[in-house]
Symmetry: C2
């Protein structure tokens, strides 16, 4: 059965609401639920479900894992928005978690989501069997931690220092070194969760090793493309369209695609990567209207 993007989003939204039941102590569960259930495109869970489907699995088997990855994504947003990190007041058009629940609860809500998410997988996917569940746990830990999104976030924060040009001597690092750093940030901060979504979906579907490699390449390419689009939109979009304060990365002197390559070159690179995504899908015989929709959605938003 072919699925549409909106079918998946509806399923994910309903399940997220169900999983995020308010329990005692209410303050923490309310703070967790707030960010997890902010309206969003649910890209990561959708990719997980669709990856499961295209490799011959039953997407319903992947629902707990898909929702858990959305919870992990929410965790990264809550902590990234903290005053000591990016200090953001708005996210998806609403006040950020710490603005509503206070900093202490925002830190704790993020912490709680990091273990609540895999707990949701274990509680609701027992029929997958212990061996597959262990594989999913390994993928989750790898992407969530110091080898994954956190590595990206740390280097992203550091880039504020290394990317600021000295008034007399220019940039402290040559363009090449900054390009490598930027690749590292995009790969870990963004592509790692895309790969996690796609890989776990494929694992649940018992995909072959070659298929797993293919979908990983797809996730890496799409993830970097998505982040380049985000860098571009940070320059050309509006608060109303994005639901968050824009231009902050640029003002903070952060290393971004547009700061390193300029707007036009960034758009060119983005178009190339999105074409690569189609090529990878062809090469690994992945037919997916949903993946097509995600790619064309990025093109449309950036206007390429």
């Amino acid at each position: 059965m072919t699925m549409k993007m909106n079918d998946y989003i509806e399923i994910v939204d309903k399940k997220l609401d169900e999983y995020m039941t308010i329990q005692y102590p209410e303050d923490i569960f309310k703070a967790m639920k707030y960010t997890v259930t902010l309206p969003g495109k649910r890209l990561r869970p959708v990719m997980c479900l669709e990856s499961c489907r295209v490799f011959g699995g039953n997407y319903e088997d992947a629902i707990p894992t898909a929702c858990a990855i959305e919870m992990l994504h929410a965790q990264t947003l809550i902590h990234d928005d903290l005053p000591c990190m990016d200090n953001d007041d708005f996210r998806r058009g609403k006040p950020t978690n710490h603005k509503v629940f206070g900093e202490a609860n925002a830190v704790l809500a993020g912490d709680a989501l990091l273990t609540f998410a895999p707990q949701i997988i274990l509680k609701n996917s027992k029929h997958l069997g212990s061996e597959k569940l262990i594989k999913i746990m390994e993928e989750y830990f790898q992407a969530a931690g110091a080898y994954g999104v956190i590595a990206g976030q740390v280097v992203d924060i550091e880039s504020e220092k290394t990317n600021t040009p000295h008034p007399s001597f220019g940039h402290p690092l040559p363009q090449g070194a900054r390009a490598v750093t930027l690749d590292f940030i995009h790969t870990h901060k963004t592509a790692d969760l895309f790969k996690l979504s796609l890989r776990t979906g494929a694992i649940i579907a018992d995909a072959a090793e070659a298929q797993l490699e293919g979908i990983t390449e797809f996730g890496q390419t799409l993830g970097v493309a998505f982040q380049i689009a985000d860098d571009i939109l940070d320059e050309i979009s509006t608060f109303e369209e994005m639901g968050k304060t824009l231009g902050k990365d640029k003002n903070a002197g952060k290393l971004t695609y547009t700061s390193l390559y300029g707007l036009d070159e960034s758009k060119n690179k983005l178009a190339c990567l999105l074409n690569d995504c189609y090529d990878i899908m062809k090469k690994f015989d992945v037919k997916s209207e949903v993946f097509d929709e995600i790619i064309s959605g990025i093109k449309k938003r950036v206007g390429i």
Copy 2:
């Protein structure tokens, strides 16, 4: 083979150092390692190893899990010490994590430890088999998250509000309600990690269900006793002895054993609970010099 407390501590310290290898990005791994390897009594990992041994297991099988629980403990310390939480400058006689690495890195180091710890278990305990590993993961998530230590921390923070007496009307909550809240805080903030340590050790040793119940009761009782001792020491000890700033809970108006029952009554309750610990050990036929040593160590520190 009977083991001594110090034998275990030596093993744990050596392994923690090995597991916490500095990798790229160095900032995050250094911050993680800093708090994990601060000298300490290693009570939780020691309890895990000894629980495995007393139930007939090979304590070496429990080393990765024991070390992971110490990492989780360090995570709770790093985040509890943050300016937006307890705002502590010292821990184990050294500057707290955010004082050394900055707030952003301290938040991220805590986050990273939450998934690094179970990753250490999975990477180094494959021979335990997937089913047992899933059980250990379930125990870990339950204790680490919103049903465990985080529930305790949230209610602990809230207690600053509900425990402050109004100048005209006295306490906003009756003594009975505050006693229930205090029990909740101690159970989750402290006893949950004790139970996690003891239960996972017992699970690794294939302990019977009744033994698992017994060691859980022991962990609950010892955990609450340990926290009462901590509340008492917060009043009667010194910075030099404890390695952290004292009297902060009292000054913040937090709900503690001594604030609710006074010093003498707290000491009586502590003595009773420690006797209960011995009774539980007898009842479940647990013979352990190490557990004896932990109990007598608490008595000695508090002077009862």
